[in-house]
Amino acid sequence: MSACATTCPSCSCGCGLYLLTSNGQLTGVAPSESHPVSSGKLCARGWSAHEATLCGERLRWPLLRKNGKVEPVSWDEAYDQISKRLKELIEAGKSVGVLGSARATNEENYLAGKLARAGLHTNNVDFPYHSLCRPLFAGLEEVCGERIPTTSLDGIASSQAILLLEGNLAETHPRAASLVMRAVEKSAFLVTIGYRMTQMARLSSLHLATTPGNELEVIRGLLAAVLELRGLDRNWAAVHGEEYEALWRAVEKVERSNELRQAAEWMTRAERATFLLACNGGEGEQARKDAGAFATLAAVTGHLNRRGSGLLALVARSNVRGACDMGVTPERLPGYERLDDEQTRQRLEDLWNTKLPPDRGYSTEDLLQSVSGLIVLADDPPSVVPIGQRAMAAMEKVDLLVVLDAFVTPTVQKAHAVLPIASFAETEGTLTNMEGRIQRLRAAANSPGKAKAGWQVIGELCARFGAGHSYTSANDVLSEIGRAVPRYAGIAQRLSEDGWSTALLEDVEGAKFLIHAPGAAAVAESSCARWPYVLVRDGSFDWGRDPLVTCSPTLSRDYQSERKLFPNGFVEMCQRDADALSLSAGRRVRLRSVHGHAVVPIKVRRELKPGVLSVPYAFRDDLAGVLGRDSVTAVSVEPP
């Protein structure tokens, strides 16, 4: 038996684990006490991390669709056909694009970006999860600038106060939830904000309940309470005079309950505090404002640039930060630099030996609607983006869909060309977690059939489009990343040491922040006589359709069972509402909104308040007729 030290590929906590193998075959997982993030602990997804690679339906040979049938072909034939057809599309003036992935490595993402910009000469490059986290990052950026600050995960455990804007931390980021529990055990104050009485909310010192879509009002209330408290401190008011005035004017009329005052006091008085912001994939404008106000709150309580304090954006997948850093976005270049940043453009043009395309490209959802040729790296856009069925319909219309993946996904099944790549357990590469900690993946087993490492395959595609460079290892790619992204310079060397050599991107301690006065919330959908309930699309990430879960027999059971029992989805409501409507669990109701109507069964959840109906992200498409493009909408409930 041997043990290979690697990084958990699931969420953005980035725990370390050992993949165990026997005679070259994966057999299990062991935790590591010496790992800086996980310290001997793993969540269920970590403990079953080997299963997807071991048990999942794997892609073994390059496949091409010929006359409607999918046939295995040689790598050369696959590359030749793909490049020939892509070139034909480009020559015919059609647009093409590339989607990277928050579950792919930095090296794979970097090369995907390079393929788009230097090979296909387009900025049509994005990653599907970006459609959920883009507004959140934009909101943080308004306050913090381009270097979005973080604190370390272990800082959570030593915080004296924690403010958590909930999604469902215990489900999405169990390791972070675990650290919050450590802090609570040590008598830290935990304040949660959300419309659901989640596990973390039940453990909190204070839960600030909102109605869905109204989180901003609570944050503004907290800001008002903090400023009220700060105002008593003459020194503080003198130093921060102007900002304080502007901010005070923006929030002074917001009602401040005793609860808000209490929470504000805890967050302000704490020497060390952590602000945890869930990525709930709400509508752009609203999510941006929420994030901006949340960051402002962290700034005015003094915790944004203080050692031991900080803010963490709880993006779901393992390499969201890495994908952003690698510039796999239509508006940002590698290094998360703006598209028009001359210095960066020059650096990349020199490095890639080509002119960069000037105009902003399409973001995922528009890209899917607009391109004729599409390369998808290790992702399944319909399971990620807010309106999945629209993404699926768009992909079906693409003239050439090329998919690189280790696993069979719905996107793979639509592809015209499939290129099999190694899974996380079979490849070298790096991931960047939510703290900005860059960590290695190491190959514990060989990839099946003719599958190759992702960096090799995209590297070859780059070469076919004149953006070539011969890479002999993932580390070669990481070295080039060091030249393209100044913050990653020297990382390849820092990670070459044995053991858990992890590298944290530089700290932003002492950085300056722009305090924005958050405007009032647009009036959130609220119930009225005609539409007495509020229906919310639960934005917690749907792990049930991530191949790391779907391909794992242990992890996929719950999700599969739910799908079988509720093939057309369900909505959740509280017991009181179910009683008032004389409904028992499983009974169907008709939901009606301004957008349309749908008939769905109900599930009773004690976590919800009366008047709130919630549809899990997994079943959002089943209720698309009622939700429209909204994440929150007012509805009526009738018999079917």
């Binding site: 043990a3 050992y18 165990l20 299990g28 062991a30 935790p31 299963e51 529990m181 059971r557 069972s561």
Partner: protein, 346 residues
Amino acid sequence: MTYAIEKRAITEWLQKLLETGEVIAPVRGPCGDVLFSTVRSPEQVMWDFQNTLPPPKQFVLPQTDPLIKIKRNGERHEIETTYDDTRRFLFNVRSCDAQGIAFLTRMHEMEPADVSYLRRAYNLTIITLACNTPCSLGFCVCTGSGPFLNDNYDVQLTDLGEGFLVEVGSEKGESAISGVPNLFREATEDQVLQRERLETEAKNQFGEQTCHFASAMRRISTGRVQDALWEKMSEWCLECGGCNLVCPTCYCFSVKDLGSDGSWTRCRMWDSCQYAAFTLEASGHNPRADRKQRMKRRFFHKASAQYYQRDCAVGCVGCGRCIKVCLGATNMPAVVGAIRKGKWDG
């Protein structure tokens, strides 16, 4: 029979064992963690270590355990049972882990006996290293499974400073030292007395970490743990399953077929009774849908009189691994303590 061996002679003994079979021992990996691994040379074996986080149970009950090979042959399927008959020496295993393996073996010997498990277990020689200093989180003294053993070892080594006392507890143990008889001398009375003294000293060194099973058992066995307490405790569980997976006495599994293209291996794979879907039925019904029901079930199995009578032991060897691995706060001593006091402090 009790022998003694000089420290410098250990290498030669290990060399002999390496020639005889696969030697598994605690080894320090490149990341600093100590893991039980197959060793190639005697120098790799660690002598001064806190116990490994993953228990050595995987050498009798692997996380992925191939049981049957299935092959399609035309219209029919051919089935072949697979056994692992490798002779293995588990070297420098701690007392708690030896007791854990003994517990697992008793379970798998119960009718119908699990031949696949037993063939692996019967081919395993357990050479323990008694704990002169208890580990920081261990409470084996509360479960009667350490720091020294009186049974359930093949060979028990005790570090006497210059050499080791070598207690042989079985025929497998005799056979393990028989290849190199000139290395082992009969132990002197002084050496045996020194071992007794070390055991007493070790027992006196146990600190705060205790686990009072008896009073918890009374409450659990008679249903006197309030539902509200289970509910409260279950709020501090994050359903990672780690407590089961690192527990030397847990053996829950599910069965999965690996492979494709007409050839499969049916495997037993570790599972956790704390996972919601562990008891999920095909109809969609789940008798333990709530976390508190699953937690109640776990501790009923671990510490009820009903199971104590059947298993002759609580389902815990006091290794303290669940304290380290628990993502939440519901490790064995914490839950047992709460049940005893009727109150959760979290």
